[in-house]
């Protein structure tokens, strides 16, 4: 399967939140009871039940007010921090390139939530026992609910009425996104940017923005944490080598000492 992607064009989004509802519907997520926070943005945050939500931002622009809408969900990184640190194989790359997840393999350790540069994975673990599991968007690749493998679009894309969300081969969507960004620059949006083309090795969710990512509340220059690399690629190999050398060295040492001291004892007698 070729690398797939979702393209979110923020300039075409009306924040109808059909995607939020379709996501819950397809992925069997419950609605969350919330209270009014003085904004139409709802629910307030991602959770194990809310894998996708639209963020609303009011941004001043030379005396003008802009109302910006940002998709908040898993970015499906090519070099995903969560996959790198997941100890049990619960998080993995789907053949489509999306970062998929098998909750039956989750131990609830929550490393994914702490090593994600986008703060996406959420847990409902008990604080004392630590029991519980993580949940996040799988781009509709959850086993048993896999739309991608069956040739369908993700639920959020399928339901989008304005064409803000499109799905297809990543390569093609990158080209589409670049064209659209060029168009926006020509129209006077000089900071227009295709987010996700290069970030964290390239993400499988791409954003067309008519302004810089920070205006949209999106992390600029996200990175897999240094601690993840130091831990997985340096410390672990050292750990295996240290244990192996200690065990082998001591086995040799004990055997030699045993032979030597035994012969000494015999010689002494």
């Amino acid at each position: 399967m070729a690398d797939k992607a979702i393209l979110f064009d923020a300039t075409k989004c009306t924040a109808c939140r059909g995607c939020q509802v379709a996501c819950k519907s397809w992925n069997e997520r419950e609605a969350v009871q919330t209270t009014c926070q003085g904004t139409v943005e709802n629910p307030p945050d991602l959770s194990t039940q809310t894998w996708l939500k639209m963020e609303f931002r009011e941004v001043g622009n030379n005396g003008d007010l802009r109302w910006l809408f940002t998709r908040r969900s898993c970015m499906h990184c090519k070099e995903a921090g969560c996959v790198k640190v997941c100890p049990t194989g619960a998080l993995f790359y789907h053949p489509s390139g999306f970062v998929s997840y098998d909750k039956h393999k989750c131990s609830g350790c929550g490393y994914c939530s702490q090593f994600c540069p986008f703060n996406v994975p959420r847990l409902n673990t008990n604080r004392v026992t630590g029991k519980g599991v993580m949940d996040k968007c799988t781009a509709c690749t959850t086993s048993g609910l896999d739309r991608i493998d069956n040739g369908f679009q993700p639920a959020c894309v399928k339901t989008c009425p304005t064409g803000a969300l499109t799905y297809g081969d990543r390569q093609e969507l990158v080209a589409t996104g670049r064209d659209r960004v060029q168009q926006l620059i020509v129209q006077g949006h000089t900071n227009a940017y295709l987010y996700g083309e290069k970030e964290v090795g390239g993400t499988h969710v791409l954003y067309v923005l008519d302004d810089s990512p920070s205006v949209y509340g999106i992390v600029e220059n996200p990175e897999v944490p240094v601690a993840a690399t130091a831990w997985q690629d340096i410390l672990k190999p050292i750990g295996y080598a240290a244990a192996g050398l200690a065990a082998l060295g001591l086995l040799l040492n004990v055997m030699v000492a045993r032979a030597k001291l035994l012969s000494k004892e015999k010689g002494g007698k």
């Binding site: 702490q114 630590g130 601690a227 200690a246």
Partner: protein
């Protein structure tokens, strides 16, 4: 055979209780450290075992220290008291531990240099493991992700150091022919006078009031 007391009963009980907790912690920790063992952690039961054992790992030495403050303090002091005999140990050890007596081993205190190294590792890495583990247990979502990330790193680094030294400890304590009475002494609490003189000359002189020879 004449014997001398090396460990008190309560010290022996403490030792094996810590062994029990440490092994449970190490095994359930390895489920998350070694990717091949990952399936053993599915569902998260091993993480609960890890936390129960962690409580024991902290409670046992803390209770021991409260009940036996004097001997605990002495033990800690001993671990960090280093002198000339330690230099002699370093010179002699490489051949001595392979069964040769080329460079004579200078008389050692109650704990020899190698044992003190292990004690220091246990104290220092124990502290690192407890602090970083505490952050991982109670700090998720409270401390910054950077602090959490480096706590995980510190937790695993301390485990690697303590784990490698643990292999040394078991090999020497239980299997090495030079330390024929080490394991027995951690069960019965006693070693023969001959063994005490041979391995811990300074200590034996001290407890026997210099009567030896």
């Amino acid at each position: 055979m004449q014997e001398v007391e090396r460990y008190r009963k309560r010290a022996i009980v403490q030792h094996w209780l810590i062994v029990l907790c440490s092994l449970l912690l190490a095994i359930t920790g390895l489920f998350l450290f070694v990717h091949w063992f990952g399936p053993a952690a599915w569902g998260g039961t091993s993480r609960i075992v890890h936390r129960v054992a962690a409580v024991g790992f902290v409670a046992v030495p803390v209770l021991y220290m409260i009940l036996n403050p004097k001997s605990s303090l002495e033990w800690i002091k001993e671990a960090f008291t280093w002198g000339k005999a330690d230099l002699g140990w370093v010179k002699s050890a490489p051949t001595y531990y392979f069964g040769f007596d080329i460079i004579p081993m200078p008389p050692q205190e109650r704990s020899n240099t190698g044992q003190k190294m292990w004690m220091v590792v246990v104290i220092m890495m124990g502290i690192v493991l407890v602090v970083s583990g505490g952050i991982m247990w109670f700090g998720k979502g409270v401390v910054s992700t950077g602090v959490f990330q480096w706590s995980v790193f510190a937790h695993d680094a301390a485990f690697v150091i303590a784990g490698a030294m643990f292999i040394v400890h078991v090999a020497l304590g239980a299997f090495h022919p030079r330390f024929s009475e080490a394991l027995r002494s951690m069960i019965t609490g006693k070693v023969s006078v001959h063994y005490a003189k041979d391995h811990h000359g300074k200590w034996y002189d001290r407890i026997s009031g210099g009567k030896a020879e």
